[in-house]
Amino acid sequence: MAACGANADVRRPVRGIDVVIIGAGHNGLAMSHCLAALGIDHVVLERGEVANAWRRERWDSLHLLTPNWLSRLPGYRYNGDDPDGYMSREEVVAFIASYARASLAPVLTGTTVTRLQTEGTGYRVSTDRGDWCCRAVVIASGAFNQPVVPRLAADLPAGIAQLTPFSYRNPSQIEDGGVLVVGASATGLQLADELQRAGRAVTLAVGEHVRIPRVYRGRDIQWWMHAAGLLDQRHDALPNGPDDLARARAVASPQLVGSRERPIVDLNVLGAEGVRIVGRLAGVRDGKALFSGSLRNVCALADLKMHRLLTTLDDWAAACGYADGLTPGERFEATHIAFSPATSLNLEREGIRTVIWATGFRPDYGWLAIPVLDRKGGIRHHGGVVDAPGLYVMGLPFLRRRKSSFIHGAEDDARELAAHLVGHLQAQSRRYRERMAL
């Protein structure tokens, strides 16, 4: 019973279905699995292939920051022989593709959604291969569709190559000499490390960041966060309500590398490798990159927050008697800052020929023709329930829980949102029947 209106364009094939899921990443597939379990008729539209982002939008050496044992989806979990390892990009593709097969997900690949609009009491989803009319839509098109590049990129001298984490694959792409990596969250930290080891002279511009150790008291930090329940914190249960939530949603990825040796890679390690650490890139003038003088403070903030987190974890371990099996609590050295970090570098004189923007990602809603965006272009929603009946979104940072944007975060969100969606369909059918009965 699709909500197709009378104004259907006869030139395009139009199909009706209860639910359309946009995107066949792990979130769309998790939702598909949950809807199938509830007997809801649906289709998953995917512009590329299953796990497209991991196939096309990641650099070669990327491994998950989350250990294998944590990689789980509704009705599916990692069952390989290395639970403490971190999947490579290819392994993530295989993991998600085999999930799609195992759950018999009704995926239409090679189908790009070009427009989503309301129609009657439901929605019309237009694609490059015909339209769908449906009663509910789940937006699972990803939270990280486009690299964010700051406006000052336009001020860089013409001869400088600019790359993003989408166009960067490996060090062989990068000219010899100097590289400026802008941003020191997980991406920037990893690329700076990789390029410095490959013999480039890396300068890393560091703004606010999240410092956490890979391993703490002998356990992976993700084990701690998971076991202590920090990742399960809910969007509607934070101490300072919406303020805390807005902040938590904007938090950058932590400075972690997923590697079997579980090394701690932080600014001190990069500094020792020879990476030049400078402040946030604040401007480009006359061929000079200008860096903020706030470097000491952003590092002090990150050190303080890390130690506050470790104290929370120690308290939790002590309270639940875990402390016995663990090595004693450690505190890490403060981030070292050079006596006088550079606030300005002449790019040409320093031989910097490449700039890599590791300045975050954003979703792309260019096809969304329903007024549900806030003034910064984000979707207005409450725990994934969008401000339009029957419209849902998944996979955004802290959508429902702190873990929502991670692979292992999809399960709880998909189950709860699928239940909400079914409630919506039932209520709509009830109203429809009541109207017919009158």
């Binding site: 606010e208 101490p239 402040g279 946030r280 604040a282 401007g283 003038r285 200008l290 903020s292 003088g293 706030s294 403070n297 002090a300 903030l301 303080l304 130690h307 506050r308 006088s340 003034r375």
Partner: protein, 188 residues
């Protein structure tokens, strides 16, 4: 972690409710958050000048204060001047100190930390070869600013460090000094 003890309230003379109210109101009406700060300055003689600070624009309209403020700037005698006022660079330091200190009070209030005393000492290095045009590679401005806080408060050392860090994170003058700003100087 919210114990009953934490409800005993600190009073640093900061009206946090009013600030939080303003924050809420301005997040809903971003136009009202557009402020213009102003100063007007008149040369007196030599390196001496007097700046008047009166109106500003904010909350969608012209704002006037109860009194006009004046700041006199001059240079010390070793610059062959008469030292009628602080040098402009020292006024910059006082701007930074005033901003960070106000921020510490506000953050402390918000975190329910009672301050007993807050003292800052500031020092900024400058190589005069820059402004005197002796060496073109030397910048005119500070080569660094060091701010040292001595704070007595009902809080642990870590909490005090967090106060100072948060105050920098939210400080306008800290941002103005640490980041480039587009400045246009024109002749009317």
């Amino acid at each position: 972690m919210n114990t009953l003890i934490a409800t005993a309230s600190a009073d640093n003379g900061v009206n946090v409710e009013a600030l939080l109210g303003a924050r809420q109101a301005l997040s809903e009406a971003p136009e009202a958050a557009q402020f213009k700060w102003r100063a007007s300055c008149e040369w007196i003689r030599g390196t001496r000048a007097r700046t008047h600070i009166d109106s500003f624009f904010g909350l969608g309209e012209e704002q006037r204060r109860k009194q006009v403020h004046h700041v006199e700037t001059d240079h010390p005698e070793i610059f062959a001047a008469e030292d009628h006022g602080a040098t402009p660079v020292e006024i910059v330091l006082s701007g930074l100190a005033g901003c960070l200190t106000a921020g510490i009070a506000a953050v402390a209030q918000n975190r329910n930390i009672q301050l007993h005393s807050v003292k800052a000492t500031l020092e900024a290095g400058m190589d005069l070869q820059g402004i005197l045009g002796i060496d073109g590679d030397v910048r005119n401005g500070f080569d660094g600013v060091k701010v040292t806080y001595a704070i007595d408060a009902n809080a642990s050392r870590e909490e005090i460090e967090a106060l100072v860090a948060q105050s920098q994170k939210r400080s306008a003058v800290f941002d103005i000094i640490t980041n480039p700003t587009d400045v246009s100087v024109v002749v009317a």
